[in-house]
């Protein structure tokens, strides 16, 4: 924004001594809305300029492959609890938490999802045997995306 914090402060100072409760300022670069709120002011700002990308857009980013998100009759879907990067092993080079055929319980860790620099473990959620692994190591997964499927153990 070509409007600095000092500019906004100055405008608020002027408005404060006026009868006005709201100011809307729109240029081709930004839109600013200042509103009286209690004894102070709030600002709502939107930058309207568009990024000036130096490189010609090479190829449009490939649309993320549509990932299977449906349940399959008779199998339990293990879904990603949150968006992030999925890891199948505790660290690079280490063996995967589970492979197809692994027997798991509700609490068995089946992978890690890294979100905002935090590692969150994903667990199987049901007792049974892993029959299919859909999400690859290092893959970016959406919340709710099916990571693996398991066949429930006989009760």
């Amino acid at each position: 924004m070509d409007l600095t914090n000092d500019d906004v402060e100055e405008i608020v100072r002027l408005l404060d001594s006026s009868f006005y409760d709201e100011l809307r300022l729109k240029t081709d670069k930004f839109e600013l809305r200042l509103r009286r709120s209690g004894s102070g002011w709030t600002e709502e700002k939107t930058t309207l300029s568009t990024p000036n990308l130096l490189d010609a857009p090479t190829t449009a980013p490939a649309p993320a492959a549509v990932k299977a998100s449906e349940d399959i009759e008779g199998l339990v879907s293990i879904r990603a609890p949150m968006v992030g990067t999925f890891y199948r092993a505790p660290k690079p080079g280490a063996p995967a938490f589970v492979e197809v055929g692994a027997e798991v319980t509700e609490d068995t860790v089946i992978g890690i999802i890294e979100t905002m620099k935090l590692m969150n473990s994903a667990s199987a959620g049901a007792r049974g045997r892993i029959v299919e692994i859909l999400a690859g190591n290092g893959e970016i997964v959406e919340a709710g995306q099916v990571l693996m499927r398991l066949e429930r153990a006989a009760p």
Partner: protein, 451 residues
Amino acid sequence: MTMRRVFIANRGEIAVRILRTCKKLGLASVLGASEADLHSTPAKLADEVVRIGPARSSESYLNIEAMIGAALRSKADAIHPGYGFLSENVDFAAAVRAAGLIFIGPTEANLRAVGDKLRARGHAEDAGLPLAPGGSISTPADARALAERIGFPLLVKAVGGGGGRGLKRIDAMAQLEATVDLAIAEATAAFGDSRVYLERFVASGRHVEAQLIGDGETVLDIGLRDCSVQRRYQKLIEEAPAPGIPEGVSEKIREAAVAFGRHLKYFGLGTVEFLYDRETQEFYFLEMNARIQVEHPVTEAISGLDLVEEQLALADNGKLRLTASDIRLKGHAIECRLNAEDWRQDFRPSPGVVTRVLFPAGPGIRVDTHIENGASIPPFYDSLMAKIIATGDDRNDAIAKLARALSAVEIQGVSSNRDLHIALLTRSDFAQGAVDTAYLADFLASRAATP
């Protein structure tokens, strides 16, 4: 200035912050952005944007080759690394300089001296700074003997760590070996360096740090900050000056920081961190951060300086233009970090799209942010959305202003820790000043105990 075109090798609020000073000085700005950030607020504000690589940091913001390639393509003549990412990476600084560009930061020797936390301890010792009892360990027998001497509780720290990463607390001899082994395994995975060291844990410790700027010959300090409100060693609330430290002691801490900077022939902006023991009024060197800090605005607020401008000027002509008489501190400033996280659900990260956001505005209020209506918070990076900084005549005035300002914040679309900040700021022990690094954990524990 001979510098004309600054390449920003960072993202988020610090990219916006650096852009603002570039604009003020009439410098052209180029932002290196990952695929996930091509439409971010800093991308809209920069004069030009260069794609550096895929969303994942390892392929973009941490990729030295891609970053320098992008900077050269953009015909920039200087690189500002911000904080985090490559900002304190010796290889990056060397590669920037080898490419004929100005690195806006310390010398490689400086980065090497403080990047290795054990080496930094050695330099601190040489410069006569007080150190918490501790040292390196190489065998389990070593560790036991040293632990015996230090006493419990103590911390095991990764030599390659820092900034709150790679440390663990050990309360008794029985936990020593297993915890050290775990720390070594984690340090190897996280930093590619298996070395760890032990250090005394100070129970009622406060995190106090001195802002330095130097040109290799002259080193000045720009006062102290307190960053004791932390969760898992990550800072949440910071203020300047550091409250409740006897005048003589704060003077000594500042002198110690300057002595350390002089010993290193420090060039650039940096912060020397100390642990201050409330009970004994002693202080110990912790580490040095060789970059601009997240919390730099509180120092700017009480000094009237633009620290990014000082970084650019210093990198441009190699000499400090400030003198000790330019440093006059006035008033009190406090900063809160607004993060995209659900603090009521064990601080669960909350990436997503901010549908609407209102920030406070007015005298004594500053907001440093990359968030506006429609901004997205990708899951690949840290959760910092905005810093709200309030400046008052004194500490109480600043607290009152900040609490009022926070209650005007409205963020829709993602969770934020706004209410946590309001709760922390308005507790009487915070108002009385000088909370220690256990303050936040104690608050959360007391809250959990009373549903």
